[in-house]
Structure formats: structure tokens, C-alpha cells
């Protein structure tokens, strides 16, 4: 085979592989949407679940998923931002830094069931917080931190060194340069990382079964005082998420239409993840344009 033929073969092979991946993805997506969407209705999206059979709407679960996601991000973004900035800019290249990096890698490969059981023992039982949104959010933070930290570190490291020199040469402090100059340039990469980890959080079930719990008590959506027990914003109430609900309906659901229920919930879950990704990207691009004055 000459170089030209090799190139043709390689190009065909690569195209076939890509087509396979895209094909599988589209098949999955289409299957879930087609089998689920016909069962989605307004009352399904907003209704409440019968706590015994698992039948009924998923309104509370849908809200719980978003609330848990936002709470998790509120906890994990500042921490991983600090850790990422430290690793990218301040950490010296020595054994201590290597140890931190290894620890982060180990943490990222921790099975989510283990994270969930750990959260259950520590927060739910030991700290007596009980099954709650906040327990779930902290467990998911453990889950999220390694991914986000590495992502932020890599995004920051990818910004050319001469940008840092420019900031320093103008008499700006390292910190000011980092926050004002480097971080905005790294923003698109960081947003991508946040979107990816949000998808993971949204779809996570195993870690939440033991921490956020499997019940979705009826909440009063007219009461937005986080201190009230019935308020949807109360972080101490148990909060079954959509992913947990799907798992529960499938394993112990007594409803006669359990299959349709879980198919519909799956379709809603996927659409919610897509919407969230889209929204995060639009927001990220908007912020990037604002801080960099690019088109």
C-alpha cells in the first residue's frame, strides 16, 4: 500500500468509528425520548408522587434535582476554584504537590456507592443531619471536586505564560493577575468542566440513595422561606431526585404503569440535562464576551 491508499483506508476507518459512536448516541437518545415522551404530560411534570406505589407526577423530584445541583455547585465551585488556582499557579513542583494530585486522582475514581455510604455514615448518621438535600449536596461535592479541580487547573495552565508576565510587569499582584486576567481567558474551559460535572450530578443515583433519601415529601411551592419544614428550599428535608426516582420506580415501584413512569421520567431527565448544558454554555459565552470584548 502506498501513502495515498493508507490515507484513504485510515480516513474511512475513522469515519466509520465516528459514525458508530454518533449512531449509538442518537439511537439511545431517540429510544429514550420516543418511549418516554408520549407519557409526559403537564400533570406528570407538576404532580406529586404517591409515596407508597411510586405512581403519579414527578414535580417535586424535578425540582429536587435542580435544587440539589445548584446547591452542590454552590459548594463545589468555590472549593475547586481555589484548589485549581493553587495547583496551577502557586503549588511548587515537589512531593507535596504530587501527593495532592494523586489524592485527587484517587478521589475521582471512588465508586459513587462508596461516596454515598460514606455520606450516609458521616452526615446522615454521625452528624444527625438525616436524609436531606444538604447531605446529598455534600456527598456530591466529594464526587465533583476532583473532576472540577483538575478541569480548572488545566484550563488555567493552558493560558499562555506571557499573559501572567504582562500582568506582573504592570505592577499587579499575582492574585489580581490571576483573577482579572487569567481566569477570564480560562472561562470557556471551566464552563465546559462545570457542564460535564453537572451532567454527572444530575444523573447520579447511587450516592444519593443513602444521603438525600428516597422520599419526596410534598412541599408547598408557595413557601420560599428556607427555614420552614415544608418549603422547597429547606436544605434539611429529604429530597428524592429524578434519577433516584427512576431507580426506585424500577426496583420497588408498585404502580401498574411503572415501566411508563420510568420511561417518561428518563425522557424528562435527559431533556433537563440538555437544557442545563445549553443554558450553561450560553451563559459562559456571554460572560466570556463581556470580560474579553471578543465578538
Amino acid at each position: 500500500m502506498n501513502a495515498k491508499q493508507k490515507d484513504v483506508v485510515a480516513t474511512i476507518a475513522i469515519n466509520v468509528i465516528v459514525a458508530t459512536v454518533v449512531g449509538i448516541l442518537f439511537f439511545l437518545l431517540a429510544y429514550i425520548l420516543i418511549s418516554g415522551l408520549p407519557h409526559v404530560s403537564w400533570s406528570f411534570l407538576t404532580g406529586t408522587t404517591d409515596s407508597f406505589s411510586g405512581a403519579g407526577g414527578i414535580g417535586v423530584q424535578l425540582f429536587n434535582s435542580f435544587y440539589l445541583l445548584i446547591l452542590t455547585m454552590l459548594i463545589s465551585i468555590p472549593i475547586s476554584l481555589g484548589a485549581g488556582i493553587y495547583l496551577a499557579e502557586y503549588a511548587k513542583d515537589n512531593w507535596r504537590t504530587h501527593l495532592i494530585r494523586s489524592a485527587i486522582e484517587v478521589l475521582s475514581s471512588l465508586p459513587s456507592v462508596v461516596v454515598g455510604l460514606f455520606g450516609f455514615l458521616l452526615f446522615v448518621v454521625q452528624f444527625k443531619i438525616g436524609f436531606s438535600v444538604i447531605s446529598g449536596a455534600i456527598a456530591l461535592t466529594f464526587f465533583n471536586l476532583p473532576l472540577l479541580t483538575r478541569n480548572i487547573e488545566e484550563s488555567l495552565s493552558a493560558v499562555p505564560r506571557n499573559q501572567r508576565e504582562a500582568g506582573l510587569s504592570l505592577g499587579m499582584s499575582k492574585w489580581k493577575t490571576e483573577i482579572g486576567i487569567i481566569l477570564p481567558v480560562a472561562l470557556p474551559g471551566i464552563v465546559t468542566g462545570i457542564v460535564l460535572s453537572a451532567g454527572r450530578v444530575f444523573g447520579e443515583a447511587a450516592a444519593l440513595i443513602y444521603t438525600a433519601g428516597q422520599s419526596a415529601p410534598v412541599t408547598n411551592f408557595a413557601d420560599w422561606n428556607p427555614m420552614d419544614a415544608a418549603s422547597p428550599l429547606n436544605p434539611l428535608r429529604p429530597a428524592e431526585t429524578l434519577a433516584v426516582h427512576i431507580w426506585k420506580v424500577n426496583t420497588e415501584g408498585l404502580a401498574s404503569n411503572a415501566a411508563q413512569l420510568s420511561a417518561a421520567a428518563s425522557a424528562v431527565l435527559i431533556i433537563a440535562v440538555l437544557l442545563f448544558n445549553l443554558g450553561a454554555r450560553v451563559l459562559g459565552n456571554y460572560l466570556y464576551r463581556r470580560v474579553t470584548a471578543s465578538k
Binding site: A166, S169, L170, S173, T292
Partner: protein, 267 residues
């Protein structure tokens, strides 16, 4: 094979007491770990003149330049004294951020921030605490005029600086430095990434800036050094070998190594 030259025989000028100096180094040495990159540099830079630092790659000229505004902090060990307004700014307790506002720097590759042209200039000023919009607008105009960029960008100040050409970006970096109203401007091969036309523009800009600033420029390009500088220092393997008025260096070099370098029969 590189010819061996004696480091004992040097020709470094000093200035009479009545010549005002902007900056002076005394036995400045730089070490990268065990690597002794700069040996005892004793150079004085007269005010409002352009001094060129020339020499081959690895001669230590950029290393020396970066030591002058403490950009080597955390990268290399710098010993000796750097006298600026009767203060040794190489002392550890000196406020390096303050120093860098007085001694600005422009780098080899244009490195504008990923921000608008206006933000590039006022970002550091705001960080310093200047909030008055009129003052900031005035600084933007003055510094862009000083860098001979105003006419080209005055209508697009809010566009991204990254959309400018390489030469425009480099002049923006000069404008950004002079907006801090420094005394001294250090330029590290500012034209090496630019095409000849942009280079001419930057050189013209520097010739005008000489009236207000003391300029120290590292350059690979000997023609550039002879065109724009009044003093010229030749570096070789981490030693300052010769420092004389530029006209003298290029017509009558004092020692063999400089002669060989200038005539191109070096190494």
C-alpha cells in the same frame, strides 16, 4: 567551534558625576540554580537615552534586563545592587509592585490581555486605585498617542485587542506600559516577532518616547541597535564585555570579541 575570548579584558564606560542616571547596577549576578548566568554586571543608564543591550542568544542580556524590574523573582537568584533614585531595589523588602509601576516592561511576543483595547490600558490603572473616568480616558488617549497607535484605534477602543495586527499589539503593549507613567521602559526584543514595516513603526515610537522615558532595549538586531540607541552594551556568555556610545561601538570596537561580533566573524 566558538572561539575562546578572555573575560578579563573588558571595556565598560562609566559616566561623569554630572550625567543624570536613571538606573545603575553594581556587581549584578544572576544564578539559575547552579548555573551562573550573569557575572558582575556594572552598568549605568543615563536618563532619557536609549541604551541597547546586544549579544548572541544565551549571552545573558534578557536575563539581565528581567532582573532590573525584579521579573526574575522566583525564577532566578539575583545578587548585587540595582540603584534607582538612590534606593537599592534588589533588597528583599522592596515593594516589587511599586517598582514595576516605575520600571515598565514590554516583552518579545506581543501579549495584550484578552480584553478590549481600552481595558488593556486601564485595567492595571484601576487595580492601582484610579477610578475617575475622565482621568482614565485621558490616560488611554495619551498613552495610545505616545505609542503612535491612537489614529489607528481611536474608533475601535472597545474592540478586542486580539483583533489587532502583531505590530499594533506590540505598540498597544508599549502604550499599556507608559500609561502607568513609568520612569524607565525595559524592552525585551520587542520587534523580533514583527515584520519589517511594524518594526519601523515601533522604532519611530521609541525615538519619540526617549524624550520622556529612559529606555533599555534588548535586541538581536545590530542594525536596530545602531539606528535607535545612544549607548550600547555588548554581552557575551554572561559577561558584559563592552559598553560604549553606540557610534563608537560600531565604528571603533575596543576589544576583539566585540570586533568579531560586529563584523560577523564571531564563533
Amino acid at each position: 567551534m566558538l572561539k575562546q575570548y578572555s573575560f578579563e579584558k573588558t571595556a565598560v564606560q562609566s559616566f561623569a558625576d554630572n550625567v543624570p542616571l536613571a538606573l545603575r547596577t553594581e556587581n549584578l549576578q544572576v544564578f539559575y540554580g547552579a548555573n551562573h548566568a550573569m557575572h558582575d554586571a556594572n552598568l549605568a543608564f543615563p536618563k532619557n537615552q536609549i541604551t541597547a543591550l546586544i549579544g548572541a542568544s544565551g549571552s545573558g542580556k534578557s536575563t539581565y534586563l528581567r532582573s532590573l524590574n525584579r521579573m526574575n523573582d522566583g525564577i532566578a537568584t539575583v545578587t548585587g545592587k540595582i540603584w534607582y533614585h538612590d534606593v537599592d531595589i534588589n533588597e528583599p523588602d522592596v515593594n516589587i509592585y511599586e517598582i514595576r509601576r516605575h520600571i515598565g516592561m514590554v516583552f518579545q511576543r506581543p501579549n495584550p490581555f484578552a480584553k478590549s483595547i481600552r481595558e488593556n490600558i486601564i485595567y492595571a490603572l484601576r487595580a492601582e486605585g484610579i477610578k475617575d473616568k475622565q482621568v482614565l480616558a485621558q490616560r488611554v488617549e495619551e498613552s495610545l498617542k505616545g505609542a503612535a497607535l491612537w489614529d489607528e484605534v481611536k474608533d475601535t477602543l472597545d474592540k478586542s485587542a486580539l483583533a489587532l495586527s502583531g505590530g499594533q499589539q506590540q505598540r498597544l503593549c508599549i502604550a499599556r506600559s507608559i500609561a502607568m507613567q513609568p520612569d524607565v521602559l525595559l524592552l525585551d526584543e520587542p520587534c523580533s516577532a514583527l515584520d519589517p514595516i511594524s518594526t519601523v513603526k515601533v522604532e519611530e515610537t521609541l525615538a519619540q518616547l526617549r524624550e520622556k522615558y529612559t529606555i533599555i532595549i534588548v535586541t538581536h538586531n545590530m542594525q536596530q541597535a545602531s539606528r535607535i540607541s545612544s549607548q550600547c552594551a555588548f554581552f557575551h556568555l554572561g559577561h558584559v564585555m563592552e559598553y560604549t556610545p553606540t557610534a563608537k561601538m560600531f565604528s571603533d570596537p575596543q576589544i576583539p570579541v566585540t570586533q568579531d561580533y560586529i563584523s560577523g566573524s564571531f564563533g
